[in-house]
């Protein structure tokens, strides 16, 4: 029997100890009408060999070797081989949440190191041991901010420059909480949230302002002005950041005069494979003052009976298994193994590697922007500083172009029309450090050709 070690003999001996004759008897307390008499309708079991053949076929169906210029919250980055060779080790991969600290020092020390690195990266005082993903981390951050600011209205300011999926997830998570989401418009030319446009939100009329940096369009927000303004109104600032960008960009802990109060985001860029969208991980850090409002697990350093240092999960009184209905969140299982990978990633790259990677991402996208602007009919939609992702204005709808690009081996970005009617014919593209100038020109040339064809069609249709 696959994965069940019992021999017929074992089963007999064990039943004998129980003084019963049949396995069925074990279910005697179950009302008989609930015992499903027949085989449930699942496909016949496969051996490992047949399964492997099936899965290899499925995976190779999806293996296109596309040249990837698509970002939008998930990015193709170089993932050092050592990461998954180590993170996949059985002792990490098949362990549970480290409830028994003494038998889980490895995992706990990694978490402590992870928290330290992420705290350094974001310039936040404390960081938790992960949440599900960037979008839910933002949702949790808002809940946390509202809890922390009982003197403010249960409202949160959410810029329209936020990733639309994140906005949707936040909406889902806040639905039961009577928290109002107040959308903030963005500047048509700059693609950013204009600080001056917020003046009609009075003090204490909101618990938090969310600042995505870079925002969904790749544009850099005026984080200092926004942060200072929100603080002046008595609200908290939640910085939503791409952790890789922090190799280069100012960390949320240093925004404005006092720094953001909560930082969160998606850890995918730190060594996590794209994998159709998950598993990734959410990270969250905050000022010390809000520590006991923070959701999620936290590892801490302590001492053992001999006075030696060691690690435990701590501050559990915030969590559901202790505080139950009054917990800071319902989260239990988080994305542990992904933080192991991220810790490996940050260790392997170090400050220099992270800086260079972020710089290369940006330089490659800048090069892509330059190359694209030489193509007739193409332009960059926004004129403000960006990081590593840009919106291209096409002379025609993007979806058919994207489909053609894909046939030609290029994953050409994200059509923005479905998200915002105003962004018709717009394409969100990025070139990470994995792209080369040659890749960029292949993209530009292919697009040029396609646009020319498209125009030809247009004319002949006319």
């Amino acid at each position: 029997m696959p994965f069940i070690p019992h021999t017929a003999n074992d089963t007999q001996e064990m039943l004998a100890v129980l003084e019963i004759d049949h396995l069925e008897t074990l279910f005697e307390e179950v009302p008989p009408e609930l015992l499903h008499p027949d085989q449930i309708d699942l496909p016949e079991p496969l051996g490992e060999m047949a399964l492997a053949r099936l899965m290899r076929e499925r995976a190779s169906q999806d293996e296109r070797g596309l040249l990837c210029f698509t970002g939008g919250g998930a990015y193709e980055h170089h993932i050092p081989a050592a990461i998954w060779e180590i993170a996949s080790r059985g002792e990490f991969y098949s362990a549970y949440t480290p409830y028994q600290a003494e038998a889980s020092q490895g995992t706990l020390q990694v978490l402590y190191e992870y928290q330290t690195m992420m705290a350094g990266l974001t310039a936040m005082e404390v960081v938790n041991a992960s949440l599900y993903d960037g979008a839910t981390a933002l949702g949790e951050a808002i809940l946390m901010a509202v809890r922390a600011k009982p003197d403010c209205a249960r409202r949160v300011l959410l810029p329209a420059t936020l990733h639309p999926h994140y906005r949707q997830v936040v909406q889902t998570l806040l639905n039961g909480q009577e928290i109002e989401i107040v959308p903030l418009p963005f500047c048509n030319t700059g693609g950013h949230t204009v600080p001056e446009s917020l003046h009609h939100h009075p003090a204490r009329s909101f618990a938090a302002l969310v600042i995505p940096q870079p925002n969904f369009f790749g544009i850099l927000e005026e984080v200092h002005a926004l942060t200072n303004w929100a603080h002046q109104q008595g609200g908290l600032v939640i910085g939503l950041v791409n952790p890789l960008s922090l190799g280069l960009l100012q960390p949320p802990g240093l925004w404005g005069d006092q720094g953001a109060d909560i930082a969160c985001g998606d850890g995918q860029p730190l060594g996590i494979p794209l994998s159709s969208g998950g598993p990734y991980f959410g990270f969250m850090g905050c000022k010390q003052a809000y520590l006991r409002q923070m959701p999620g697990r936290i590892a801490g350093r302590t001492k053992d009976k001999q006075g030696k240092e060691g690690f435990v999960l701590t501050l559990q009184a915030r969590e559901q298994h202790i505080r139950r209905a009054k917990a800071t969140s319902n989260i239990c299982t988080n994305q542990g193994l992904m933080t192991v990978a991220a810790t490996l990633y940050l260790s392997l790259l170090g400050p220099e590697g992270l800086h260079r990677t972020a710089a290369a991402c940006h330089a490659n996208t800048a090069d892509l922007a330059r190359q694209m602007q030489t193509v007739a009919g193409l332009s960059c939609l926004f004129d403000r500083p960006f990081f590593h992702e840009i919106v291209l204005q096409l002379p025609c709808p993007a979806p058919p172009i994207l489909a053609r690009l894909e046939q030609l081996g290029i994953s050409g970005g994200i059509a923005l029309a479905p998200y915002d009617g105003l962004l018709r014919d717009c394409l969100l593209v990025c070139a990470t450090e994995t792209r080369t100038p040659a890749d960029n020109s292949r993209f530009a040339h292919t697009l040029k050709t396609l646009l020319a064809e498209e125009k030809g069609h247009g004319t002949s249709d006319f």
């Binding site: 029997m1 696959p2 070690p5 074990l26 179950v30 009302p31 609930l34 499903h36 699942l42 496909p43 016949e44 399964l51 099936l54 899965m55 995976a59 999806d62 293996e63 998930a74 170089h78 996949s88 059985g90 990490f92 991969y93 549970y96 028994q100 038998a103 490895g106 020390q109 990694v110 402590y112 330290t116 350094g120 990266l121 599900y132 997830v169 889902t172 039961g176 850099l220 984080v223 922090l246 280069l248 960009l249 794209l274 159709s276 598993p279 801490g300 350093r301 009976k305 701590t314 559901q320 917990a327 989260i331 239990c332 542990g336 193994l337 260790s347 400050p351 990677t357 330089a363 490659n364």
Partner: protein, 498 residues
């Protein structure tokens, strides 16, 4: 003790093999970033360690060895279902074709993975007796959130706006009440009777026009099967409420008993329990939700649909306008779901039934052996399901050793400890779940260890209170760690000595 990675760090130690090279990186590198970007740049490099690749490999390899895990130790952690995670499932999920795909690339490039997900939806429907399944929740607790949010949406859609109360048995897992609160409900606890069942009278007394529903685990976290489940369902449904199933214990019944048949309206499953996806030291998992027909419109998106042509598409807000919405930026923990899919294809229906049978056999056998050895179980008159509870209150009274002391001493014997102090209503309890993948010999060795520890407790209780003494990890591990100190003076990140 292994030093912290930061202690290995030396300024300017680089792994240049991971530095991007090439024209863009060098010519337009940090030095020559456009002037426009300058005001946005960080002044100080992030305080990350500067270590060599060899340092990293050694450090984290050594740290890994300082863990117990299913791959190295028996891990009878009740409620957590720490069973063997077949390596093939991992290997297949790590195939480059699956790993490299961008979530926002077209469905044309994702038919392979979407076929797996679609079939997984179907299989889970069949296995649980529910009408439809959404795979998007990223863990059990998020599955619960989705389920409870659907219950809320259902009542709202019917204009039944006064159903503000969620009933939850006192033995329930903490995520149940936490989730109910998160969804805006008031939690009302329902007591458990002496044989581990929900007190029906109390339940009957609690229901009313405010009742949104009841959240239940069955088998419960007390390790017994709730025999009155059909009555309970009737009581709740009669009151206009819905029944939510916490599927964390499905391993006990999968393939034999279906939550749908018990009368549940919404359920979540823990693929990282029942379907042998690895726990990863605390995730990632996945918590698919299933619903009865009347809740179908509210399922979280995206889901995978199949077109008449046979090709797969994502079902989103467009196709499901009444959905409770999105729960993650993309589609949930796809890689974890692929592992679960692979596992289910390996077992099939017969295999799942065997899982339930042998998980139950192992638990009952272990319970019987421990009972024979003089341990006291919480519900001696009941059959165990896939897990059972030992209470050490007698030992605690007699010699002053606690469940915690027992747990710590087990570590010295090379066994991970059972869950302790949960469920809260049983004093000094150990919640023990051996799972079906453990052999009789392992259970027998565990019994021997328990007996030996009990003898130690009687002859030298201090020895237990001081445990662990020498955990079988390289270097012998640490002795008992001070949780109170940790919480009193939180030290949550390393800081350089000034």
């Amino acid at each position: 003790m292994e030093p912290l990675i930061f202690e290995w760090s030396r300024s300017q130690r680089h792994n240049s093999q991971h530095h991007p090279v090439g024209a863009a990186a060098t010519e337009n590198g940090a030095g020559s970033l456009e002037a426009a970007l300058r005001p946005f740049l960080r002044q100080q490099p992030p305080p990350l360690p500067e270590v060599s690749e060899l340092d990293v490999v050694r450090h984290f390899t050594r740290l890994s060895q300082q863990n117990f895990s299913v791959d190295t130790h028996f891990y009878p952690l009740g409620s957590c279902t720490m069973k063997y995670n077949p390596r093939i499932c991992n290997t297949m999920a790590m195939l480059p074709g699956f790993l490299q795909r961008h979530p926002l690339s077209s469905t044309a490039t994702g038919q392979g993975v979407m076929a797996c997900l679609y079939e997984l939806q179907e299989m889970l429907c069949n296995l649980t007796g529910m009408a439809a399944v959404s795979l998007t929740p990223m863990a059990g607790a998020q599955g619960e959130f989705a389920g409870v949010a659907m219950i809320r949406a259902y009542h709202q859609a019917r204009g039944d706006g006064n159903r503000t109360e969620m009933l939850i048995p006192d033995a329930a897992h903490g995520t149940n009440p936490a989730t109910a609160t998160l969804c805006g409900f008031t939690v009302r606890e329902i007591p458990t009777d002496g044989s581990g069942n929900v007190q029906l009278e109390a339940l009957q007394a609690a229901v009313g026009p405010n009742t949104a529903g009841l959240m239940l685990t069955n088998p419960s976290t007390l390790g017994v099967f709730e025999r009155h489940i059909r009555q309970i369902a009737q009581i709740i449904h009669a009151a206009g409420g819905l029944l939510y199933y916490d599927g964390a214990n499905l391993n006990a019944i999968a393939g034999r008993i279906r939550p749908g048949d018990m009368g549940f309206d919404a359920i979540h499953l823990n693929v990282h329990k029942t379907f042998a996806t690895p726990h990863g030291g605390g995730g990632p998992g996945a918590g698919p939700v299933g619903v009865a027909e009347r809740l179908r419109p509210f399922l979280p998106v995206p889901m995978v649909g199949r077109q008449p042509t046979g090709s797969y598409i994502w079902l989103t807000e467009q196709e499901c306008p009444q959905t409770i919405g999105r729960l993650s930026a993309f589609y949930g923990n796809i890689g974890v779901l692929i592992r679960a899919y692979a596992y289910l294809r390996l077992t099939g229906a017969a295999g799942m039934r065997r899982v339930a049978d042998y998980a139950t056999l192992n638990a009952n056998y272990l319970m019987a052996r421990l009972t024979q050895a003089g341990f006291q179980t919480a519900f001696p008159a009941r059959r165990a399901t896939h897990e059972f509870i030992i209470t050490l209150k007698a030992e605690a009274r007699q010699v002053g050793v606690t469940a915690l002391d027992f747990a710590k001493r087990l570590l010295d014997y090379g066994f991970y400890a059972p869950t302790i102090y949960f469920p809260m209503l049983v004093p000094e309890c150990l919640l023990i779940e051996p799972t079906e993948t453990e052999s009789k010999e392992t259970l027998d060795r565990f019994v021997e260890a328990m007996i030996a520890i009990r003898q130690e407790a009687m002859s030298n209780p201090q020895w237990l209170r001081d445990a662990p003494h020498a955990i079988p990890v390289p270097g012998g591990g640490c002795s008992r760690l001070d949780d109170t100190l940790a919480a009193r003076k939180p030290d949550l990140r390393w800081q350089p000595q000034p």
